[in-house]
């Protein structure tokens, strides 16, 4: 895309070619964001669709003060969060494993692909997935997460902690490492 600013301005005036260009340029990155927030590809596609509709509807509000990509990522994250809030589903309460991790080698870490981790993160309960994404990957504070998700900060911290535990366990299971010690806690 040669001139992003001009394309954005055309988009704001409803230029369909400019909209196609924006989609073509950013869709892969935004799909990556949506995949992280969703339980599967189907939900991610719905969120990507809704997110882009929102981008094209509100693009005139983009003030060119920061990164356009960052603005789009926030819209995608917010779209996923809103869908989560609307659904407000009850999900199964799992027995949670609390364990201590053992050291990984750098070699092991580098052999893990993003696709592998995506599969693991999508298996998290929805709220844990949201909190982990917002905190660990997007860099939001617990205060901001609490406001975004309409929960309190303590819940955010607790969800993050549990998400980490589950992720650690699954990383160990999936990459052939044995658990050092396992206890069970009902939450």
């Amino acid at each position: 895309m040669t001139n992003l600013e001009e394309t954005i301005r055309k988009c704001a005036s409803g230029d369909r070619k400019a909209q196609a260009a924006i989609y073509s340029h950013f869709s892969s990155k935004m799909y990556g964001v949506c995949l992280r927030y969703s339980k599967d590809a189907g939900e991610a596609e719905d969120n990507l669709h809704d997110g882009f509709i929102r981008v094209f509807t509100k693009i005139s509000q983009f003030g060119f003060k920061g990164s356009f990509e960052g603005w789009m990522r926030r819209i995608m994250a917010n779209t996923s969060l809103e869908k989560f809030r609307k659904n407000n589903v009850l999900y199964p309460v799992e027995d949670m494993l609390i364990f201590e991790s053992i050291p990984y080698s750098e070699e092991t870490i580098s052999s893990i692909s993003a696709d592998d981790l995506l599969k693991i993160i999508q298996e998290l309960p929805p709220r844990y997935r949201m909190v982990f994404n917002l905190y660990a990957i997007e860099g939001y504070s617990h205060q901001e997460i609490a406001k975004l998700m309409e929960i309190n900060e303590g819940t955010s911290k607790s969800n993050l902690s549990r998400a980490r535990v589950i992720l650690q366990k699954k990383v160990m299971e999936n990459f052939g490492l044995e658990e050092n010690r396992v206890t069970t806690q009902l939450c």
Binding site: A20, N87, L90, S101, L117
Partner: protein, 417 residues
Amino acid sequence: MLSENNEIDQLFSRKFEHFEKTPPAFVWERINKRLNYRSRFLTGLKAVSIAATIVMAALAGWWVNNPSGKPDIRVKQAAVQTDKNTVKEQVANNMHPAVSDYKSAPENPSKVNKKQTNKMTLQPVIVANTPVIAGNGQIISPKSGDQAVTVPDIEKPGYSEPDHTGTGKPIVQFVFPGNTDHGTSSVTDIKAGVSCPFKTISPDVAAGVTVFHRNQKRNKTWSLKAEFAPVLSNRPQNNVQISELNSSGFKSGNVKVNSENSFTAEILAGYKVSKRILVKSGVAYRNIRQTGQNNDDNYLNRRFEYVEVPVQASCKLAESRLGISIVGGFSAAYLIGNREVISVNNEQTSRGKTAGMQSLTYSGLLGLEIGYDITKHLTITVEPRLRHDLNSLSAFNSVNYKADHLEIATGLTYCFD
């Protein structure tokens, strides 16, 4: 090393930093389709808004000129006093004494006026046998064969009551004796706004002036309707996946959800734009209920509540005490209530909301209204009608839920004069 919690954060953060994946091609096709739809919708909305604005402005203008809402003829008499050169207005049911000189006056003027003005004609009712001078100095004298002189656009001193004529101006007639035809002739060169528009030359009180307040509004133009309708919806939603309900004891798997009978209630204001066409709009409450059952005889109950703004037009096919009209229209419905309850072993648990419901939905309707006039103002109506959802109730692209509804509305309409 992943010895601490934040290191697993770093692992994911690092791996997802430049993570990209090409979405399936159909996502863009869906976006494109939605943008086209949105573009058409916005264009349509603009056109409807402009049309509505024009119609409302025209109606407002018409209403300002015809505020009282029905043909209303009032007869006022104004006596012209020569000594003071002023005009005093009298409101009377009977004729001014000067009129009595006119022996050939056929009947009581007020009766004549009401009767004749219903036919929207002006007839002489007051008799004067004296020439008058208009404010601009023109002398208006009876001519041979003249029965009356109509003086438009006169502003009379001391007359502060607002005008209620179709044109916003009083119509003043001078009727001269010796004529039996009761025709009307006009003087058009008298300007509006003169402070003392006319005076008599004769030393006697001789002129009688009848001011017709002519109103051309149609009878019973505005109406208010309240109605209630049970709603039968036909669209069953098959195979709802409710595996997420595990924790509440509702077994996972596919559940067939059926629409239940529900109801709608509405209040509509109507405006009669012509003899046969009535335009209605107002506010309505609509309730939609669904029930699902799984193999264990446990139930899922859904309740949706909408506030609607309907816009309808009806065309009268038959006009008598029993009126029949065809009704068509559309409505925009805003979702205000959404809740799900599951019932396991007769124990109910609130489950929150149904996911992905559209907050705004549109529907079109077509029906037949049968009305019976109970009194002059009150009509009872029965209106069987079909309603079709124009867009899916679900925001999920994978769910295309458009229901058909049969409504049997019963209502009361009050027509204002």
